[in-house]
């Protein structure tokens, strides 16, 4: 392996890892695998269909039962992206003249961009029906845009438009929550008609929340990745 690390430090780390693994195994052996000691899960399983009307119960928890936590996650993402933007500094002036990717990257980006876009939008919109939701689809959308940017750096990402989309999507999420607060008394309570379970238009405001989160996360991460690849190299 690489030289330079004293062997005693390696051995100590190894002993520590084994000890930690043994401790966790000893604790986990006492809990039955797959049987949680908490009863909230089974309560949500029985009640989610009637309460929220979503077929995907994980999304029902993320956007319905624990919608406020999702707002906290969005704030964390926003804070991280803002901090990264502050730390990274200005964009290099010659960033558009960066070398294009190799043949595989360019051909792959041309093929993958529409596919990733479609898959990302599908996962975001069907968040309440199939596994997925706003976050997963948003990350795939960010990857779609970033692959084409890194394959051809001359197609510069419009950072102004990215910021506008991100801001509007985040504001839409909060506005839907405030509307639920005004109408029904609870912030981010699932509103609108629940519809038929399993239809695309069902589960009330959940597809709207999911789309807002997907747009926000996608634009945020795409802007962040483009910023990293375009930023100037600072002093060490």
């Amino acid at each position: 392996m690489h030289g330079g690390v004293p062997p005693m430090r390696n051995i100590a780390s190894l002993v520590f890892s084994f000890g930690l693994a043994f401790l966790r195994l000893a604790i986990a052996a006492q809990l039955g695998f797959g049987h949680t000691p908490m009863i909230v899960g089974s309560g949500i399983l029985t009640g989610a269909e009637a309460d929220v009307g979503a077929a995907n119960i994980v999304t029902a928890v993320v956007f319905g039962y624990r919608g406020f936590d999702t707002l906290g996650e969005l704030s964390i993402l926003f804070a991280a992206a803002t901090a990264a933007g502050l730390v990274l500094g200005h964009r290099r002036l010659g960033a558009a003249d960066d070398p294009e990717g190799g043949l595989i990257l360019r051909a792959g980006a041309d093929l993958l961009f529409p596919l990733l876009l479609l898959v990302g939008v599908y996962i975001v919109i069907h968040g309440h029906l199939t596994p997925g939701g706003g976050f997963q689809g948003g990350v795939i959308l960010a990857a779609a845009f970033f692959v084409s940017v890194i394959a051809k750096p001359s197609l510069r990402l419009n950072h102004g438009a990215i910021s506008v989309i991100e801001g509007l999507a985040g504001a839409a999420f909060i506005l839907i929550g405030i509307w639920a607060l005004v109408e029904d008394g609870s912030f981010l309570k699932p509103m609108l008609d629940q519809g038929v379970l399993g239809q695309l238009v069902s589960a009330g405001t959940m597809p709207l929340l999911s789309s807002a989160v997907g747009l926000k996360v996608g634009s945020e991460l795409a802007g962040l990745l483009a910023h990293i690849s375009e930023s100037e190299a600072g002093e060490p």
Partner: protein
């Protein structure tokens, strides 16, 4: 099912060891992505598709890209044709990259 999980666990452990053992920094980043990919397959085997989607998208995709971009910014990895401008951390030839890694491991 247990055979699939067993094979995936072996692959994950091998990739994790490869992260430490590989000399090439970008190879270590790829091995990190392989670990995340294997873990996401394990999540599917354990019947948690949402978690698996998130882990695959973020761990295998995004985090590998962020690491590679960080390496590129530090000058420890170059795309073909990157104009090799004088960056204080950049070694002047490809062979010195291993020394840079060994030096970084010391600190």
């Amino acid at each position: 099912m247990t055979w699939i999980a067993l094979v995936v666990v072996v692959v994950v452990l091998a990739a994790a060891v490869a992260v430490l053992a590989l000399d090439s920094l970008i190879g270590a980043v790829v091995a990190t992505s392989v670990v995340s990919l294997g873990v996401s397959v394990l999540f599917v085997v354990l019947l948690a598709p949402d978690v698996a989607l998130t882990e695959a998208a973020v761990g295998a995709g995004l985090s590998g890209v962020v690491l590679a971009l960080g390496l590129r910014r530090l000058g420890l990895w170059r795309l073909e044709g990157d104009r090799g401008a004088a960056h204080p951390l950049v070694p002047t030839d490809g062979g010195a990259a291993g020394h840079a890694r060994g030096g970084a491991a010391d600190a």
